[in-house]
């Protein structure tokens, strides 16, 4: 899907599950989780839905998230775990590590 950004060294650190510039987690695993849990809504147009989920490219490049909240790891973490508006909560289905990995991958979306 999306390529890893940054230098080889950073990419290696992310894939190894260590802490990189943007935080801790494995972007590779995050990409797998993204494809499994997020892409169906955020990558595909679903005309039947009341609200079209936003594309997530450049999520952390903007100052604010599509919701208007600050584009921070903590805010994205809360959104993933608790859900937001019509977005379902992933509480109980993604571990803390999973969420960290997912956030790490979202940082790579340019």
């Amino acid at each position: 899907m999306k390529g890893l950004a940054g230098s080889t060294a950073i990419a290696f650190c992310l894939a190894a599950g260590t802490c990189g510039l943007a935080g801790c987690g494995s972007a590779d695993h995050g990409e797998e989780l993204y494809d499994l849990h997020c892409a169906a809504c955020h990558e595909t147009s679903n005309p039947d839905l009341k609200k079209q989920p936003p594309k997530l490219e450049g999520l952390f490049r903007a100052k604010t998230l599509p919701s208007g909240a600050p584009a921070t790891d903590e805010q994205v973490r809360n959104t993933i775990i608790e859900g937001l508006r019509t977005m379902p909560a992933f509480q109980g289905r993604l571990s803390v590590t999973d969420v960290n990995d997912l956030i790490q991958y979202l940082h790579t979306l340019k």
């Binding site: 797998e32 499994l36 169906a40 809504c41 679903n46 039947d48 379902p88």
Partner: protein, 292 residues
């Protein structure tokens, strides 16, 4: 899944351009729970399909006449899952049965235990305001009921159902005479997570933050034993696994007398639901629907 001992240990996923240029091919592994030859569909409890969807149970159209004839509930299968038209159209082909031993213990699938004209069960459920309700509380109005859980991540399932109900609600707001004679009810399978505050928050998102809409559209959940009773009465399938609930897609319409007027399973249009709800509000006689 532990009981699929004969299955290959790894899932091979082949994503290709397909002959039409828009088809994606995946490999599905799972156990067949139900078979509907007339509709040409099987319901499969399947494992994760990387790049497409997490493990869940859902019905699939089958484009494999021989496979459709051979496969039976309980069978472990591997099949090609074809997703076309941006994922809106999908089907199974090249079904391979890998283990037939589950046939012995497969439960017969009983759809719609209550028949058209039967009264809805008197089972309590609790709405977004923490108020206990029964189906009989809606007597005098035709009631359209659907079944979801708020953490459902699949856009073609619960989010679609709630979006369709939101459209019906918005349309009915425009015609007060029908609005006053109809009601919408969204029942959650997940009483553990879908408490009244969660349901209220979820409902407001679909009501555009207009809480007065709750007087026309309730969001509720029932205790697990009560929900099982409701599911048995309406012929719903659901089970929880790894904090995810696999469930069938069903909609039930009640007459103003609280009797079953119509069932829909898996296939319907928003316009069809809305029309039936409006018509039922004007009639006290239940009728068998085209898919009932």
């Amino acid at each position: 899944m532990k009981w699929w001992t004969v299955m290959a240990s790894s899932m091979l996923v082949a994503i290709t351009g397909g002959c039409g240029g828009q088809e994606k091919h995946y490999t599905l592994q799972g156990q067949v729970l139900a078979k509907d030859e007339a509709a040409g569909k099987i319901t499969v409890k399947h494992e994760d399909i990387p790049g497409l969807m997490p493990a869940m149970t859902m019905p699939y159209r089958v484009k494999d006449p021989f496979g459709m004839k051979e496969v039976q509930p309980g069978d472990a299968i591997v099949a090609d899952l074809i997703a076309a038209n941006g994922g809106k159209d999908y089907w199974l082909q090249s079904i391979r049965i890998t283990d037939e031993s589950g046939r012995k213990t497969a439960k017969p699938h009983i759809r719609h235990a209550l028949k058209i004209g039967d009264p809805a069960p008197e089972v309590p459920f609790t709405n977004q305001d923490g108020k206990q309700l029964h189906f009989s509380d809606f007597k005098g109005k035709s009631v359209l009921i659907t079944f979801i859980y708020t953490r459902c991540p699949m856009p073609e399932f619960c989010p679609r159902l709630s979006s369709q109900f939101a459209k019906i609600h918005e349309d009915l707001v425009q015609t007060p005479a029908d609005y006053d004679k109809t009601h919408l009810l969204t029942l959650s399978f997940d009483s553990k997570y879908d408490t009244a505050p969660v349901l209220r928050k979820y409902g407001l998102a679909y009501l555009d933050d207009h809480p007065e809409g709750f007087s026309h559209w309730d969001f509720a959940s029932a205790d697990p034993a009560d929900m099982r009773q409701i599911a048995d009465a309406f012929g719903l399938d659901y089970f929880e696994e790894d904090n995810q609930i696999s469930h069938s897609m069903d909609i039930v319409l009640l007459t103003p007398e609280g009797k079953i007027a119509q069932y829909w399973s898996n296939e319907w249009t928003t316009a069809e639901l809305e029309s039936s709800l409006r018509q039922q509000a004007k009639s006290s006689i239940g009728h068998r629907g085209p898919k009932g």
